[in-house]
């Protein structure tokens, strides 16, 4: 049996480990364009912030490929899949044959459409190489602009503030983290960031960058020019799907998979940021581009590839952000646009420094936002994931003493 995995991020790595767990002999080849050892992608924000050194990024031993008898094929991208020929085509024209294929190619930063992108000190934030370049550009930088108010934009802004830069965040939507939190929590987060010197401008897009060699200003769609010496673009991600034959593998936003992580093509699986599957809270397909999802999906894909049928019931969005003195936890569908048919229970808010919001539908928890005292978040996640009817009134679940014992 020959397994081929495209992508050596956490989804690919977890899949390879799962295959090895079940099958000591199968051949495994991993194709990846990053040559750095398997590492923690989320931790690149800690590197920017200065709380962790770049040297701590690897999450597997140096001998990972060797120890698991994996044939690494690193340093170039797969450019096509030849489904009839059962092989993957690489950038240099060579091919790798497979019996089972996993697409774990992750996501790329969503590109911005603006002029002057070739100027120095304009960065995306996705790879260890990006973070190394960002850190190298810090000396002498004083004014930064961050594009995007999603999770990555936020982490970038937070890191730069911690480094002592003045930071302006430009976002197109109405308030930061609008995909994750409701307006109350959004306001609390924004207030906290502003207290530490962040300027946020909403409803603004960037049309271009100017400067000679190095970026010196960003141009906005309302005709202004904001001086800066460093830019980080964090406008979300897009699944890497350009090499996937559209007619032969179902692709929506991501590569569509069923509960066994199988794509619509025989013997081809997908997992991680590139995959689109049922979201347990939303009840429809969704791309949840998150680390724990990628790790679990990768493992389940690996088991299935190795011949043990394991179902993955669905994905769930979840995140914790620590923003200065605030710990922000979001789970599931925390901010459904149209709230008719939902029960929403809220307590606390800006004045109490603690905020809780539960989103309930048909007596099942489907989403939550917690600000501070987030230790019990996992219990709520389990409730959403297991889709069990609530036995405890929601008003009790937002109380401070809420614990696991109350559910049994």
């Amino acid at each position: 049996m020959k397994h081929v995995i495209i992508g050596n991020g956490i989804a690919g790595v977890s899949a390879a480990e799962a295959i090895r767990e079940l099958d000591a002999k199968a051949a495994i080849t991993m194709i990846g364009d990053e040559t750095f050892p398997p590492y923690s992608r989320p931790m690149i924000s800690s590197v920017l912030e200065g709380s962790q050194p770049h040297s701590k990024l690897p999450i597997r031993p140096k001998g990972f490929y060797n120890d698991l008898s994996i044939e690494p094929c690193l340093g170039q991208r797969a450019t096509a899949i030849d489904i009839l020929g059962h092989r993957v085509v690489l950038a240099d024209g060579s091919t790798v044959g497979y019996d089972r294929l996993l697409i774990a190619a992750g996501a790329d930063p969503r590109p911005v459409n603006a002029t002057g992108l070739e100027l120095q000190n304009i960065f995306y934030m996705r790879t260890e190489a990006h973070s190394a370049a960002q850190v190298a550009a810090l000396p002498g930088a004083t004014k930064a602009v961050v594009l995007g108010g999603g999770l990555v934009g936020f982490k970038a802004a937070y890191g730069l503030l911690r480094r002592g830069l003045q930071v302006t965040m430009l976002i197109t939507s109405g308030y930061p983290l609008s995909m994750q939190v409701d307006p109350v929590a959004g306001q609390m987060i924004m207030d906290e960031m502003s207290r530490y010197g962040l300027t946020v401008e909403v409803g603004v897009s960037v049309t271009g960058f100017t400067g000679s060699g190095k970026v010196a200003a960003v141009e906005t769609d309302d005709g202004r020019s904001l001086p800066c010496d460093l830019v980080i673009i964090g406008k979300g991600v897009l699944p890497c799907r350009d090499f996937i034959p559209r007619g032969q593998i179902a692709v929506d936003l991501g590569v569509v998979v069923n509960e066994f992580m199988q794509t619509s093509a025989a013997n081809i699986y997908a997992a991680g940021d590139v995959a689109e599957l049922i979201d347990l809270a939303r009840g429809r397909r969704w791309v949840n581009a998150l680390w724990p999802e990628a790790a679990s999906q990768g493992r389940v894909a690996g088991y299935n590839m190795a011949g043990r049928q394991v179902a993955y019931p669905g994905s769930l969005s979840r995140n914790v952000m620590r923003v200065f003195e605030l710990d922000v936890l979001t789970l599931g569908d925390a901010n459904p646009g149209d709230t008719s048919g939902y029960e929403i229970v809220q307590s606390g808010g800006p004045t109490s420094n603690i905020y809780r919001r539960l989103v309930i539908k048909e007596n099942r928890l489907i989403g939550a936002v917690f600000i501070n005292e987030i230790e019990q978040g996992g219990i709520l996640r389990a409730l959403i994931e297991n889709q069990v009817p609530l036995r405890l009134p929601a008003t009790k679940m937002v109380r401070r003493g809420f614990n696991f014992g109350q559910l049994v």
């Binding site: 724990p292 789970l331 996992g378």
Partner: protein
């Protein structure tokens, strides 16, 4: 393999386990010394109030597979092969709380720990008293528990004992032996009644 088994129906909420746990994870290793330490050692077992105000001792189950391990962003959580204990490496932990969202029991806390890096908050949870067990001691919470809520035994033994207790309590012939000691049962009934009266 022995492990800490929890029998929550016996807990009276005395919280002695918490004190013993914090002491066992202090620098001095003594209760008096521990109270003077900076940072103050904290318990890794958490006695919370259940729905009827009864005590509920909550601690890491060392799940296999461990959701916290899969969720850890920093590769800081691993399982010790021979004991099955899930451990957090304090030097790799980045305090991101990804594990807190993964833990279905809510037993991971975030604070500076006497045994971790100085001046840095990290994720902290039960380590099965590994450093006591290698010295031939049993976990501190079990040693101090007076009601049999926490026991150190194999899961098979615990199941067998539990089965026996339940069947004895159910059998009509003979005096039988209650599954939960009389005193504990009485205390729980009182607490529950108090709460029900209060809510009326």
């Amino acid at each position: 393999m022995n492990q800490v088994v929890v029998h929550p129906e016996r807990c009276v909420g005395c919280m002695q386990c918490m004190l013993a746990c914090a002491t066992a994870h202090s620098q001095s290793g003594t209760l008096f010394g521990a109270t003077l330490e900076q940072p103050l050692p904290k318990s890794r077992i958490h006695v919370g109030a259940g729905r009827f105000n009864e005590g509920f001792p909550n601690r890491c189950r060392h799940c296999d597979p461990a959701p916290c391990q899969a969720a850890c962003l920093a590769g800081a959580i691993n399982r010790v092969a021979n004991t099955g204990t899930v451990m957090i490496n304090p030097d790799r932990c980045i305090n991101c709380a990804s594990c807190a969202m993964a833990c279905p029991y809510g037993v991971i806390r975030f604070h500076e720990d006497p045994l971790g890096p100085p001046n840095r908050q990290i994720a902290v949870k039960c380590d099965n008293c590994s450093s006591r067990v290698v010295r031939g001691l049993i976990p501190a919470c079990v040693e101090v528990c007076k009601t049999g809520t926490l026991t150190w035994e194999t899961v098979d033994d615990a199941m067998r004992r539990k089965n026996r207790e339940v069947s004895r309590a159910m059998s009509s012939g003979g005096p039988g032996q209650p599954a939960v000691p009389d005193g504990v049962a009485l205390l729980k009934t009182i607490k529950q009644a108090e709460l029900e009266i209060g809510e009326r």
